[in-house]
Amino acid sequence: MTVDWKEEEKSKGTSEVKSGMGAGNGTLLSVHDLHVWYELKRWGMIHAGYVKAVDGVDFDLQPGESIGIVGESGCGKTTLMRTILGLVQPIKGSIVFDGGDISKLGDHDLQFYRSEVGYVQQDPYGALPPFMDLQQILEEPMIIHGVKSKEERIARIEQVLKEIKMTPVEDFLDKFPHMLSGGQQQRAVIARAMVLEPKLLVADEPVSMLDASVRVEILRLMQDLQASHNLAVLYITHDLSTVRYFTERIFVMYAGKIVEKAQVDELLDDPQHPYTQALLTATPDPDYENALHYKKVPPGEPPSLVNPPPGCRYHTRCPHMIEGLCDVEDPPRFEPTPRHFNWCWLYDEGRKWA
């Protein structure tokens, strides 16, 4: 089936930036120096500082590429995702999608942008309206995005349901969310995200609410969709063990900043940043030995994002902290091995203090 309606919708765009869309130089999504701060107010009016949820994030995403963003809760990964979806406005920096800066899009173009980016929520049951059956759920985005013909919509729904292996399709169309199992609900959420043929899928912990036996099935499904649609995927998670099989690159985030970036195998086999190392040590594989000894865990908790510590934000918990450097100066980017980046002073060859 063609996506003629999509071309048509796109051409209706009015703002200037729109013409840029589609003229990207091969990069699908380019996030540059992104800062997202939430303002804190006292008594609802007096400025009382900012929560610096995302504080200087840079990355490029190619079409068809999958990236895993790993970090603890409160590290800003969800804010980053919401900013990319256009739900939160950044205070500084830009997000360029397919050649167009999304902060400059007009209403109509923003709507079009949203048809290009699918969103898979964390809790499938909470994300599906309980009073709509599956057909209504899947039709709604197409109605909003101007697919006028009912036949076309039904045909598209059938096609998507076949792709996510909810067959026979007729059995599922009149089902309400509560009649589906957890895995099927998550499939429905993925179907809803895919129904507008997006180029980018943003998945926020898509399997954390599911059973172990279903998780792999859902991740495999996303992987298949990625391959067959040349879909770019941003996979946000705190679970490192699922990342290895389903993404190509991993970014590790800590307190609003990316601290390490590398190819999956590179990062898991040779973690460089002390925080990444701590995460890897703490993630268990099923093994009897685990019960016999204590795990090494860095002391303390992630810092407050209102007043993040100066210098490297991990220095308060880091066992390798270099006094006078880590707690004073922000680490720049280092590249100790090709295409494996980290932001840690330990990898500075000409360390100033030496």
Binding site: E72, S213, V216, D285, P286, A291
Partner: protein, 319 residues
């Protein structure tokens, strides 16, 4: 009454609920033994009856109970014979307590942490408030929460701290056995590792026994002495952790272990096709038969629980 050196023996526990759709056989004929200072993990998919099992043993029953039968010996006393009031006063929280699922949200938002941790002491052991607070302070410090946190409210604590407070609440009456229902599923990896360190230390220092209920096989290995696998209301395999994680016997356990993505080993995880049977009218015979790749004729009959290679397995392959 048979005497032996087990802390808990559950025999033929049945817990059925009546619903508008029919009778749900949530726990169907479960037998389980637990030694002193031992930790057993019950793993299984959601809806397999593992939480109902814990509630059944603790007699925390909802109103729509249809059948509740079997024998539960705790410290060689048949607690099923006790009346509800006596059970509440002498057993629940005195001898066994529970850390509920989503413990992060289990704290009362309008009471101070200290009042909540001290409450079991005041109601169960008729302690004076000051004394109870003193004991509560000692207990929260044991799980790694600063003593002055007792004056705070739940919203002032991070997720990991709240989880520890709940743990302190379950520990404060120094019970013999604690049920942990998905204690870390909502927490970050580092916090999770921290909590398990605390649990390991408690097991060593206070000689508590644990029944850990989870669907997360990887983290369950942090505490397990033994592993029990539950499927569709029944226990299908019980084995020592040292052999279980390496070589599970029941086809379901085997497939469950293969579905766990591993971080340090490169091994593609697989998944189990199909869904567990409805507990409204579970199939006769082996309940896993429909999804089982090793199914044969015998599987239409109910398999017995047999000993094989040191594990108890409910599968015809090992008869």
């Amino acid at each position: 009454m048979p005497e032996n050196n087990k802390l808990l023996r559950v025999e033929n526990l049945k817990l059925y609920f009546s619903t508008t759709m029919g009778t749900v056989q949530a726990v169907d004929d479960v037998n389980l033994e637990l030694g002193y200072n031992e930790a057993i993990v019950i793993v299984g998919e959601s809806g397999c009856g593992k939480t109902s099992f814990a509630r059944g043993v603790l007699r925390l029953l909802p109103r729509n109970v249809h059948t509740y039968s079997g024998r539960i010996y705790l410290d060689n006393i048949d607690v099923m014979k006790l009346g509800d009031e006596q059970f509440r006063r002498d057993v629940r929280w005195e001898q066994m307590s529970m850390v509920p699922q989503a413990a992060m949200n289990a704290l009362n938002p309008v009471l101070k942490i200290g009042d909540q941790v001290a409450e079991p002491l005041i109601t169960h052991e008729s302690m004076e408030k000051e004394q109870a607070w003193e004991k509560a302070r000692e207990m929260v410090e044991k799980v790694g929460v600063p003593g002055d946190f007792l004056d705070r409210y739940a919203f002032e604590l991070s997720g990991g701290m709240r989880q520890r407070v709940i743990l302190a609440m379950a520990l404060v009456t120094t019970p013999l056995l604690i049920f942990l229902d998905e204690p870390t599923s909502a927490l970050d990896v580092l916090t999770q590792a921290n909590i398990f360190n605390v649990l390991k230390r408690l097991k060593k220092e206070m000689k508590v026994s644990f029944i850990l209920i989870t669907h997360d096989v990887a983290t369950s290995s942090e505490l397990a002495d033994r592993v029990a696998v539950m499927y569709a209301g029944q226990i299908v395999e019980v084995g020592h952790a040292s052999t279980f994680f390496e070589a599970p016997l029941h086809p379901y356990s085997e497939m469950l272990m293969k579905s766990v993505p591993k971080l340090k080993v490169k091994e593609e995880p697989t998944f189990i096709t199909g869904q567990p049977p409805s507990l409204l009218g579970p199939p006769t015979g082996c309940r896993f038969a429909e999804r089982c790749p090793k199914r044969f004729d015998k599987c239409d009959e109910e398999p017995p629980l047999v000993m094989a290679k040191g594990h108890k397995v409910k599968c015809w392959l090992y008869v």
